[in-house]
């Protein structure tokens, strides 16, 4: 990653900063954590999958919804990944599935980012009663087990993509909220924020112009980690028959291979491909998100790959990063 030309970044700064100093907000981009081969590999993998999802309709060799060969045909020149229980081309299905899986992943993570970011900002900025109430709510959401809640809500409110996105987003915002709150609390006490306040800036301006930009990179790093969890959750819900029946996703393909007796038909290709995709994307998101967090906050020392789920759903045992 090439260092950012400092002049471009400092144009909006009121005080002239020596050209050698990069704006602290972007200094993390120079961190060695972002140059590890694992991080770059993860980023490349993520990019490949995003491109695959964007170009899905151009990349599919066959129409994934129609029969294009014999049932459970093994991989061959015509069907690189074989066919599924209805004779549809697996490669086309996997490519088509990337679309829904990534949409769910990113959209749900976005929902979680908005809820978590808002709660964290308000809680950290205003403190006092607001903080107490919001953090109490966060504590409760943390304890309600994610999987059963997702199952129940999906079962009750119908198997639509939007529902699944909202459910996943509405469950996994808690770690974001805590992280943002801790960060906001420290930013709020910095001298420049106090000065801006003394000059007469209102709360909206303070949050929007001075606090949010400081917290944003960390918020994004955390969101990348949430993408992995959301994709994971989608395969889980879909496997239990609660996914949108009209859409192709990786979770749906895993479900199909199970329901379509791929095992009895010795059709390993129908089982392996979608699962490998999920595993790779989850791995990539974990690598990238983790590296970003390390780069942003070396003092957290969560560096050596501590576990995402526990930070997503960690408890107030003093283990969280606060």
């Amino acid at each position: 990653m090439s260092p950012i030309p400092p002049t471009a970044l400092n144009q909006d700064a009121a005080v002239a900063i020596p050209a050698t100093v990069t704006s602290p907000r972007f200094r993390f981009l120079r961190s060695p954590a972002l140059r590890k081969p694992a991080t770059i590999g993860g980023l490349a993998l993520l990019l490949i999958f995003v491109l695959m999802a964007l170009l899905a309709s151009h990349l599919e060799p066959y129409n994934p919804t129609v029969k294009s060969g014999p049932i459970y045909a093994p991989p061959s020149g015509a069907h690189l990944l074989g066919t599924d229980d209805s004779g549809a081309d697996m490669l086309s299905l996997v490519i088509a599935g990337s679309r829904v899986s990534l949409i769910v992943g990113f959209a749900a993570a976005l929902v979680a980012m908005i809820i978590g970011g808002a709660v964290g900002l308000l809680s950290g900025f205003f403190g006092g009663k607001t903080d107490m109430v919001l953090m109490r709510i966060t504590d409760y959401v943390l304890v309600i087990p994610d999987i059963p809640l997702m199952i129940i809500v999906a079962a009750l409110f119908g198997r639509r993509l939007l529902n699944i996105i909202i459910i996943i987003g509405a469950i996994y915002w808690t770690s974001t909220a805590r992280l943002v709150r801790a960060q906001v609390k420290s930013v709020r006490e910095r001298t420049y924020v106090k000065r801006v306040r003394a000059v007469g800036a209102g709360n909206t301006r303070l949050i929007g112009r001075h606090i949010l930009p400081q917290v944003a990179p960390l918020l994004i790093a955390n969101t990348v980690l949430t993408v992995a969890v959301a994709i994971f959750a989608e395969t889980y819900i879909t496997f239990l028959g609660l996914g949108d029946p009209s859409l192709i996703s990786w979770g749906k393909l895993i479900e199909n291979s199970f329901k379509g007796d791929a095992v009895l038909n010795h059709a390993w290709w129908a089982i392996v491909a979608p699962g490998v995709c999920v595993t790779l994307v989850v791995l990539a998101c974990t690598m990238v998100g983790q590296a970003m967090e390390d780069a942003l906050n070396p003092r957290l020392r969560v560096g050596h790959l501590s576990v995402r789920r526990f930070r997503l759903r960690s408890l107030n045992t003093g283990l969280s990063s606060e």
């Binding site: 087990p145 999987i147 059963p148 129940i152 395969t235 609660l242 974990t286």
Partner: protein, 325 residues
């Protein structure tokens, strides 16, 4: 704050959380479009039966009255009746729970032992090929969807080692083979092995990563440097100075995760048709058997809350400083 106050506070929080879960359960199931009974899909769900169910669930009364009824019934241990079998839910769930427990215990013990060992070895041999291999294996298993891992097991492992891939009991047992205590236990274990292995592998990655990171954290402390300066060998340092101190976060995090394992076993049991609480969940979803789903949700929530409480209390016991925070 005294530690007794802290303990009382945590217990109160747990109790309040149970009530929050009960309320959430009530609200969610009443917020469905239509009502809980009209969505019912089952063979004996005639209009008359649905009317009886409505009356039994109190759907004809006011919301407050319904809530009061729901809570008082729960406190009496009455979870309602299954819409499918018309039997009390709690009685229906005992057998599956009894089937699930030994399986997840086996899987959990496996994952804790392997996970901690792998994590310690990784930290001990930090940045070597061994560490890298261990780390990426752990990450790999950690990133796999559990149900997919289960399918791989059925496909690639079960055939090779000749283990059963579905059910909990060999149907020919007692007919072809005499059903003595020995053969029954062996048969049970053989049926448990693959689901437990799947669950164990999907958890092991998590534990290995936790252990490794906790170990690296403690190995960076000054007292480890002192120990090295004293000329101690690497292994005693890793064991006595590193692992003993790293145990604190490891134990707490494992206790925390124990509560979620039952929920994690749902897809595993589904893949292996293992007649436990997970398979019961899947069946209840299929049939839209709300009282059963509600009871399972509560059960799983309470198990998470209880293990959280245990983790909290364990933490005070192990590290009394937490009280002062």
């Amino acid at each position: 704050m005294r530690s007794a106050d802290y303990v009382v506070k945590r217990i109160l929080f747990a109790i309040v959380t149970v009530f929050v879960a009960i309320t959430l359960n009530f609200v969610l199931f009443r917020a469905v479009p239509g009502d809980a009974v009209s969505a019912l899909r089952c063979r004996n769900c005639t209009v008359a039966f649905k009317e009886i169910q409505r009356r039994e669930l109190g759907l004809d009364k006011s919301k407050w009255e319904q809530y009061r009824l729901y809570v008082t019934h729960l406190l009496r241990g009455d979870f309602g009746r299954s819409l499918r079998t018309e039997q009390p839910v709690l009685g229906e769930l005992w057998a599956p729970i009894a089937n699930t427990m030994p399986m997840i215990t086996l899987g959990t013990v496996f994952s804790i032992v392997i996970g901690i060992l792998a994590g310690v070895i990784s930290a001990w041999r930090r940045d070597t090929l061994l560490d890298k291999t261990g780390l990426y294996t752990a990450l790999g298993f950690y990133s796999m969807p559990t149900q997919w891992l289960g399918l791989l097991m059925v496909f690639f492992v079960a055939g090779a080692i000749g283990f059963p891939t579905s059910g909990i009991r060999d149907p020919t047992l007692g007919i072809l083979v005499p059903a003595s205590a020995g053969t029954v236990i062996v048969d049970r274990l053989r049926h448990m092995a693959l689901p437990a292995l799947t669950l164990g592998l999907s958890l092991y990655g998590e534990y290995a990563l936790i252990t490794r990171s906790a170990m690296l954290e403690t190995l960076g402390e000054d007292y480890v440097l002192t120990a090295r300066a004293k000329g101690l060998k690497n292994l005693p340092i890793v064991w006595a100075h590193g692992f003993r101190n790293a145990l604190l976060p490891i134990i707490t995090l494992i206790a925390l995760s124990l509560g979620t394992i039952i929920a994690g076993a749902i897809t595993v049991e589904y893949v292996f048709s293992y007649p436990g609480i997970g398979l019961a969940t899947v069946e209840a979803i299929d049939q839209r058997d709300w009282p059963v789903l509600q009871a399972i949700f509560l059960l799983l929530t309470v198990s998470v809350i209880v293990f959280n409480l245990i983790a909290d209390l364990l933490y005070v016991k192990l590290d009394p400083r937490v009280v002062d925070q």
